[in-house]
Subunit: 176 residues, 2 copies
């Protein structure tokens, strides 16, 4: 089922990929696929070993006032990265996206649908999608600079030093 899911997601993109088509390709009943994975985002996460659930994160981080979401985003991101398997998986996805347009397209449609659009809907600024994507760009860039290029002192800076600096930037993009 996961192989069929990967093929369907790759062929049609996240948004257009259908649970029914995936079930058909895998030779199983659609009900079984739903039973195992529930929703399309969960199936995608399982198929690509995507290491966190955007939908749950958005709900948790934005259940309170967006005016203080910056520090919650920073805390979540930095805590996520402190788990080496998660960090490795995220960096592997960025690396793969950087050399494969197919994977880049897949990540793009997944992130836009499950994360950008959901956060943007909660913001009261002009061009909210652009703001959310600027937050994403800072998060991706921080991961690359800290863990891939591993430039010092950034690579060794403790999360509690980075949190307020990252939090302020995120807040600026979201509501500033």
């Amino acid at each position: 089922m996961l192989a069929a899911a990967r093929a369907e997601f790759a062929a049609r993109g996240y948004q257009k990929a259908g649970m029914r088509a995936i079930a058909r390709a895998a030779g199983v009943d659609a009900a079984l696929l739903h039973h195992y994975f529930g929703t399309k985002d969960r199936l995608f996460m399982a198929a690509l070993e995507f290491p966190f659930e955007p939908r749950a994160v958005v709900e948790k981080v934005f259940e309170d006032d967006p005016a203080s979401a910056g520090e919650r985003v920073a805390a979540f991101v930095l805590e996520l990265w402190e788990q080496p398997p998660v960090r490795e998986r995220l960096l592997a996805l960025v690396r793969t996206a950087a050399v494969s347009e197919e994977v880049a397209a897949l990540m793009r449609s997944f992130m836009v649908t499950e994360l950008v659009d959901r956060v943007a809907a909660r913001l009261d600024v002009e061009q909210p999608e652009l703001r959310v994507e600027l937050v994403m760009s800072q998060i991706v860039g921080l991961a690359v600079a800290r863990y891939v290029i591993a430039v010092e002192p950034l690579a060794s800076a403790p999360p509690e030093v980075l949190a307020p600096l990252l939090g302020r930037t995120v807040q600026g993009y979201l509501t500033g």
Copy 2:
């Protein structure tokens, strides 16, 4: 030969690019390529033509007050990227750094010496190197999100829309 090398590195990344393929694309014998440049990493460095001179940029951007450097940094970066060959070269550097610790190390020592330390010396904040590297992380991340992952609307946003948002973030890191 350098043009063929750049094309191959940009297309395949450092690790997968082949000396033989570069020689073939350049219409020369592989032995000749080895004779001129030795190993692939030396060829890479020669082909790099790092597309801006950090020392000159630092002097230009920071000759005025650091309190208004954010907008000058943003203007410089966005203008640099509007030149497709420059953009392509910078992205090739990020891609190769992501898959080669050797290139990452190369980039790291070059950037720290020529850029981070020079800017940090002009700042009046605690941990100035960390601040400069956070600026770098935002710049790298913006390039990846805008040009590699190419997520919309960020990928198509005009420079004049991005400039004030990026400028404010940079300013926050430098002096905030």
